[in-house]
């Protein structure tokens, strides 16, 4: 099915509904601070030794998330290097009834 007017109208209706929901949910005030923020602001630089509180969080209190993020970067670079081969050397296990000898 190539598109058509019904699909276009449905897509626009979904977008308008998402817009209305976002405008309704995001306005108004939100609760400001919690107990964790008070503890972080008072004791953050004393316990980890860093003056920058953001560094104290992502390398002191939540260093495991930083390790996981490093692993995600490693896997992404490996995946990009693996996939970036030209067409002549790619995997050719299906039969060729479409063009595959492109430069």
């Amino acid at each position: 099915m190539r598109g058509g007017r019904v699909t276009a109208v449905l897509e626009v209706v979904v977008l308008v509904l998402v817009a209305l929901f976002l405008l309704q949910a995001l306005q108004g005030d939100h609760p400001e601070s919690s107990e964790v923020r008070g503890h972080l602001v008072e004791n953050g630089s004393r316990e980890t030794g860093a003056l920058n509180l953001v560094t104290a969080i992502y390398l002191g209190y939540r260093a495991f998330d930083t390790l996981g993020e490093t692993i995600v970067l490693l896997v992404a670079v490996t995946g990009v290097i693996y996939f970036a081969v030209p067409a002549g050397k790619g995997d050719d296990e299906e039969d060729h009834d479409t063009r595959s000898d492109l430069p």
Partner: protein, 112 residues
């Protein structure tokens, strides 16, 4: 009114994902929506203070926790975009076109 602008950025990204047939534009729309959500979190964290969360400032500091979490979100978003773009490149090499509908037709022809 900043939340309305952020809402607009997210809707532009969402429109790019659904209504565009070019696959590179779809991936870029996803990246724009990602940026909008990150801006939303950082904006709501900055409402409870006036300056950067560095010790020795003296004034009320903004919330440091959403900023630290959004660092991870930005890096993960960059990794997802890199992998998505390289997959679009492999699809282009296989089918010769970037149009989503023609790639779908070519894939159905391969399947039969």
């Amino acid at each position: 009114m900043i939340w309305a602008l952020i809402c607009l950025i997210f809707l532009v990204g969402l429109w790019g994902v659904t209504r565009k047939a070019n696959m590179v534009k779809k991936v870029m729309g996803l990246s724009i929506a990602n940026s909008g959500i990150i801006l939303l979190f950082v904006h709501y964290g900055s409402l409870s203070g006036t300056t950067a969360p560095i010790e020795g400032s003296g004034r009320a500091m903004a919330d440091p926790l959403p900023q630290a979490l959004m660092l991870t979100a930005i890096v993960v978003g960059v990794c997802v975009m890199a992998l998505a773009l390289v997959l679009v490149y492999r699809l282009y090499l296989r089918f010769g076109t970037l149009d989503m509908h023609r790639v779908e037709l070519g894939a159905w022809k391969l399947h039969d």
